[in-house]
């Protein structure tokens, strides 16, 4: 289970390729192992969904890719360039090609600057002339559905959560990025607004040819938007594959447990499977071997002594587990026995 390895990487054509990423924080209590040897890649035009419960390191992974958090070790290649080796100046230029949308929409906007200044911040930093900035502001605000003149002079506190998130998306688009990392972009929003923002991201991705990394804890949201999904647990990778296959027949016991924890309207006690026992272990001293073994129903001695490597369980689906769940050779059709995720549910 929750292990490491690079068997699931797809080689040179990837836009973003992360290998053995390690992020550690030094605290007074010890070293927090936020992300441990996680590898993944994203093809151009693809949406990669990263799911996992709170504290599994998914947001840290997103920030580390942009070097907003210090990378302890590992390699991050964007368009073939190793970004951990870039100098501060080169990194500043490259950052405009990789933009991020944050979880708290209002908090990610400076409360003392009006919308028209906020959305062209990236261009202003790059030294673009005022005329170009104004044209860009019109373009991106129209793209996110805030074309109305009255939005331009508003301060963030007068925007709703959905509007603020649209401004944040507009700001990211203004620098014409290739990669968009969305860190829980809808979890602070109402369900009805969530759908609007998700559709907006989908449309923009299609129109502008963006590549997206979508980080969320909401299984149904990730399933809706992703071409590939990556499941993380306590800083380690669990499972990787196409969402249909992973959701229909998960190979990793943790993925199974995540899917089972979603309330079901037609199940006897509301859930389709048993809840996970116990709490997330401390990332200060994670369990030996497989990090999921303390809560795994299938764990044995092997799991405690040896860390599982990522292995292909069937074409296109990978799991890091010593005892993966049996999966049918051919991905099951949707609507099958295990189709457990109704819309609007959270893990």
């Amino acid at each position: 289970m929750a292990g490491s390895g690079v068997a699931h990487l797809r080689g040179d054509q990837a836009l973003l390729s992360v290998e053995d990423l390690v992020v550690e924080y030094r605290t007074s209590a010890g070293v927090v192992q936020a992300v441990s040897e996680v590898s993944f890649d994203v093809l151009p035009g693809e949406t990669l969904g990263i799911v996992g419960e709170s504290g599994c390191g998914k947001s840290t992974t997103g920030r580390a890719v942009l070097r907003l958090d210090t990378v302890t070790s590992g390699s991050i290649r964007f368009r073939g360039r190793a970004i951990e080796e870039l100098g501060e100046r080169e990194m500043r230029a490259l950052r405009r090609e990789m933009q991020m949308i944050f979880q708290d929409p209002v908090g990610s906007l400076n409360p003392r600057r009006p919308v028209r200044e906020l959305v062209v911040e990236g261009l202003d930093i790059a030294g673009a002339p005022k005329r170009e900035q104004e044209a860009a502001a019109d373009r991106v605000l129209a793209a996110v559905g805030l074309a109305d003149e009255r939005f331009r002079d508003l301060l963030p506190r007068r925007l709703s959560g959905g509007q603020a998130q649209r401004v944040a998306i507009a700001r990211a688009l203004a620098v014409e990025p290739q990669l968009l990392i969305c860190d829980e972009p809808v979890s602070a929003l109402d369900v009805s607004v969530q759908a609007q923002i998700l559709n907006l991201v989908e449309d923009l991705k299609r129109d502008l040819g963006l590549t997206v990394v979508f980080i969320a804890h909401d299984l149904s949201v990730v399933r809706t938007v992703s071409d590939r999904v990556l499941v993380m647990y306590l800083g380690k990778l669990c499972e990787f594959g196409e969402p249909e296959a992973v959701y229909a027949s998960p190979a990793h016991p943790y993925t199974r447990a995540l899917l089972d924890s979603v309330p079901q309207p037609d199940a006897v006690d509301g859930f389709s499977g048993p809840a996970l026992e116990g709490d997330l272990p401390s990332p200060l001293s994670p369990p030996t071997g497989c990090r999921f073994r303390t809560r795994c129903p299938r764990a044995d001695e092997l799991c405690a002594s040896e860390e599982p490597r990522v292995a292909e369980v069937r074409p296109g689906q990978f799991a890091a587990c010593h005892h993966p769940l049996p999966v049918p050779e051919v991905p099951a059709a949707s609507g099958d026995a295990a189709d457990p995720v109704p819309a609007g549910s959270t893990a």
């Binding site: 405009r96 991020m100 979880q103 400076n110 911040e121 990236g122 009255r150």
Partner: protein
């Protein structure tokens, strides 16, 4: 886009004229009487002190009437009485106000600029920058203020300049602490991270993202500091370490009159009341500004 305007009582006529602008009644800010009076008093003192050479009052260092004349209506020079040498107290209060206000204002502003800057650096960069600045600040705060001022007066010749420098050093630490604490709170917000992700450099983040948020909080503290500086200048002059005679200052006038408290109490009373009212007004203004701009927990 059609919007239903629930406040529109005109049957839609208003909505047609301005379709995109919802009508929201203007919220009237409640104005406090004491704050209004405070602004008036302060404006009066500042204007009169600034224009005193043009006013029909005698100079502060020549006798305008018999010594120790009680305050009386009639001649302008004698409105607030005369001191032991027959000099007009009105004239001396206004000229003294120049010293007290200028010292308070300049020392306060200088400390505000220096302290805010140092606090921004300490709060933003952390580590050794923070360690050094915090260390020096704490050392300054631990030093008894009067002793510091006394030693400055003892080493240098008392003058307007040394007095201002001493008082500036005295209040820099409070601005550093306020600015540093606010910077730390704003530094970790996501819009700062977003700016960095746009490629912003640290100086730009400090100037464009953090400073505009820190400034209102720190600036609303400025009137309170100026008030305390006026009191401090008064104390120094009272101890005879302020501006040398015959230039008047409010503290010096209180000091001069203290021996005559039994028979001519107005010699102490007049400057004391002026100091009290000015400091009280500054505190009122500072409090109202703080209530308006210091929204650390809010937006």
């Amino acid at each position: 886009m059609t919007q239903i305007d629930y406040l529109d009582q005109t049957g839609g006529a208003l909505a047609e004229s301005v379709p995109s602008e919802p009508v929201v009644p203007v919220v009237r800010r409640r104005r406090s009487l004491s704050v209004g009076l405070s602004y008036t008093w302060l404006a009066l003192v500042v204007v009169l002190a600034a224009l005193v050479p043009l006013l029909p009052v005698s100079d502060f260092d020549i006798a305008a009437g018999p010594p120790r004349t009680s305050p009386a209506f009639g001649e302008l020079d004698l409105l607030l009485g005369t001191d032991n040498f027959g000099r007009s107290i009105l004239s001396r209060v206004l000229y003294g106000g120049r010293v007290s206000l200028v010292v308070g204002l300049i020392a306060g502003m200088a400390a505000f600029v220096i302290g805010t800057f140092l606090g921004l650096l300490a709060g933003y960069f952390g580590r050794w920058v923070d360690a050094v600045i915090t260390y020096v600040t704490d050392a300054l705060l631990a030093f008894p203020p009067l002793i510091l001022l006394l030693s400055i007066s003892a080493v240098t010749k008392p003058s307007l300049f040394t007095l201002t420098v001493g008082l500036t050093i005295l209040v820099i630490p409070s601005f550093v602490r306020l600015s540093r604490a606010n910077t730390i709170a704003w530094r970790s917000r996501e819009f700062v991270r977003a700016a960095r992700n746009m490629g912003a450099t640290s100086p730009r983040i400090i100037r464009r993202e953090i400073l505009p948020n820190v400034l209102p909080t720190v600036a609303s503290y400025l009137p309170l500091v100026i008030a305390s500086l006026i009191v401090a200048e008064g104390s120094l002059s009272f101890l005879g370490l302020g501006i040398p005679a015959p230039t008047p200052s409010w503290g010096g006038m209180i000091s001069d009159g203290k021996d005559s408290l039994n028979d001519a109490a107005y010699l102490v009373l007049v400057p004391s009341v002026v100091v009290f009212l000015t400091v009280f007004a500054l505190n009122q203004i500072g409090d109202s500004l703080r209530a308006r701009f210091d929204r650390t927990a809010g937006d």
